[in-house]
Amino acid sequence: MIDFTLSKAQQAARDYAHQVALEEMRPLSLECDRTEEIPESFFWNMQRRYWGGAAAQARAYGQDEGVRQENLLSVISQEEMAWGDAALATAIPGPGLAAPPILSQGTPEQQARFLSIYMDGQLHWGALALTEPGIGSDVAGMSTTAVLDGDEWVINGHKHYITNGARADLIVTFATIDKSLGREGIRPFVVPKGTPGLIVGRIEKKMGLRASQTAELIFDNCRIPKENLLAGRGERKAGFKAAMGTLDATRPMVGALAVGIARAAYEAACEWLREELPAGYPPHKRRAWEEELKELGQEIEMARFLVWRAAWMADRRIPNSKEASMSKAYAGALVMKATATAVRITAPGEESERKLLIQKWFRDAKVFDIFEGTAQIQRLVIARRLFPNIDIP
């Protein structure tokens, strides 16, 4: 039955994440953005608060309710985290983007072997490495290679723009085992940190999301055990399609982050109009801004519903590529609009922490139109699903 109310578990997840965002993220936000560094204490606090405590409670409630809802619970919390600080949200210890391919393509043995690392209470991260200097959107054209040599895969190549690349304990790296196979030759490999031949290159300086680590990785005869190939299981055959399939789970998460930033900017702009309006500000202008914000508020709700719907489909195991792309494309455009509007509205105001945050969110927002598939790529995915029999290049 169509229902837009949050269950106990869903509400608990939201409340908890909001509290964490308010207490652990907002106070650090501007400083981490300025220094492009995150204090160690943040990681430990998140480790303690996010993986233990009430978040575990929410997960337990979720199980009580007897339906799969890990994707929904996750997008609900992600929105709150990004409301706190999206860059910090990407740095929360845990397997991160490495988890979906391990979960969907790993054998039970591989899942246990790789994911148990994250359960020991210490600080660990994961990363996903697809992008190369020569290819981004056109993942199938990648040039990183993997060659089997005895009991080991030997990886050679160059990846860049990898989130948490320098601190990740495990990097799920995509490489081709046979270039002549094109996309069919692409496989995911799990490369542990510290493997000889895995070299961390430069850490990027960015417009926004500065506290999030974006690293270059060089693979120079990097040898990993044969057992680190995620070969797929059952119906979920490994390879390019399966790799892209994990995006159906992660795109709504990225959408949720975008919604969180958009909401933060929207709320700050509303507060500014209420609290910081300079004396003599023309009332007709204020009314015009209020109208614009009202519209924005409604668009934020639509973006959230698209995200929730895509996550809900993932939980129900209903194919959701189209809906996942819709949620990401809509939220990616919206967060730009929301943050740009907030910048415009508050432009006449004095410098304040609120204004600095708005400026930061504006700089953070643009990447949501780019990573996990650009705005154009999302539209391509949607169009190809709408017209399955037509070749849309």
């Binding site: 229902d3 949050l6 929904l72 409604q298 709700e301 719907r309 494309a329 539209r379 849309i392």
Partner: protein, 368 residues
């Protein structure tokens, strides 16, 4: 708990509405546009399905309306033809407002003719919402009612009243001024108008841009005196809010159906139309327009469903007012963009009356 799937029963009703839309609405759309009304046969067919009598059985209805279910129905009807859908929904809003806001006695008086199994389908209701000074938001309702010794005195305007010129039951939304002060907005209330009312001028709206199949009228109230029993229930009751927000929600659903009609129609066209040796949809310039249409349609539909869910759950008035307004505003805006883009996708053909796209674009524009 969050859930985005209609129930099986809703799905069945939706399919029924869709088949009626495709068999009986779409083929008659152009004719209804010129004749400016729905044919009696269509109304009879609909009445036989029970879709047009969603009020309690005791009044001859097919069972009380649920907003989510009816949003699904309204979208399908509009997918058939937006004008005919509004014709049907606009008529329904008359009896529905009596059911939602009226006293038992008023329900017993006004509902049975609509539930009559032989002649009910010929009855037409109407609900006057929008005014010369605004659109479909509650805040824009200003028609002023003042208490007098033996009733109420009404002053103001209404426009876009579907079936206003010939309705068997005319309901109007107004504000009851509690105090003498001019500025304070009165409580939302609904009145039933009888046929010949001194000071009330009813003018059919002849030159409409779109939605011609839903004939509408303008009302001008100049010191119109109504008897005390014309007030439905009590002023400021939740029943009136529920009636008004229901109309907004169903109008939003109609906008979604309009957009879906345009989206599917131009998609089929773009698949078949060849330019430079390839189907035009294989060009990103076209494919992205359609992808965007699908995305924004889904977004607006979710917003509509959310408001409908809250309506069914009996949420507080403020919640309904906010959510129904969001749905109506966003769905209409989306439908206007979708129908306009559908013509763009079709090129010159879209501009021609051989195709329904130009009608849908005018219809969406007329939803304001």
């Amino acid at each position: 708990m969050l859930d985005f799937a209609p129930t099986e029963e809703q799905e069945e009703i939706r399919k029924l509405a869709q088949s009626i839309a495709l068999d009986h609405l779409r083929p008659h759309a152009r004719k209804a546009e010129t004749e400016r009304d729905s044919p009696n046969e269509l109304r009879l067919t609909l009445a036989q399905t029970g879709l047009t009598t969603p009020f309690p059985e005791e009044y001859g209805g097919s069972g009380p309306l649920e907003a989510v279910t009816y949003s699904l129905i309204a979208e399908e009807l509009a997918y058939g033809d937006p004008g005919l859908a509004l014709n049907i929904v606009g008529s329904l809003m008359g009896p529905l407002t009596v059911w939602l806001a009226g006293s038992r006695e008023q329900q017993e008086r006004y509902l049975p003719p609509f539930g009559n199994s032989t002649s009910g389908y010929l009855q037409r209701g109407s609900l006057a919402f929008a005014e010369r000074t605004g659109g479909y938001t509650l805040a824009d309702i200003h028609l002023q009612a003042r208490r007098t010794s033996d009733g109420y005195l009404l002053n103001g305007t209404k426009r876009d009243v579907v079936h206003g010129q010939h309705a068997d039951l005319r309901v109007v939304l107004a504000r009851l001024a509690e105090h003498e002060s001019e500025s304070a907005e009165g409580k939302l209330c609904a009145f039933v108008l009888s046929d010949a009312q001194e000071g009330l001028s009813i003018q059919a709206e002849e030159e409409k841009l779109g939605l011609q199949a839903a004939p509408s009228a303008t009302y001008l109230f100049n010191q119109v005196q109504l008897p005390a029993e014309a007030l439905l229930g009590e002023a400021g009751s939740s029943g009136v809010v529920r009636a008004a927000t229901l109309y907004q929600i169903l109008r939003a659903a109609i906008a979604c159906g309009t957009a879906r009609a345009a989206f599917e129609y131009c998609s089929a066209y773009a698949r078949e139309r060849i330019a430079f040796g390839r189907p035009i949809v294989s060009y990103q310039g076209i494919a992205f327009i359609i992808a965007e249409m699908a995305m924004k349609l889904d977004a607006a539909r979710l917003l509509t469903w959310r408001a409908a869910c809250s309506w069914d759950r009996g949420e507080a008035d403020e919640t309904l007012i906010y959510e129904a307004e969001c749905a109506q505003r966003q769905a209409v805006k989306m439908a206007q963009a979708a129908t306009t883009d559908a013509i763009q996708v079709m090129g010159g053909a879209g501009f021609m009356q051989d195709h329904p796209a130009e009608m849908w674009m005018r219809d969406a524009a007329a939803m304001e």
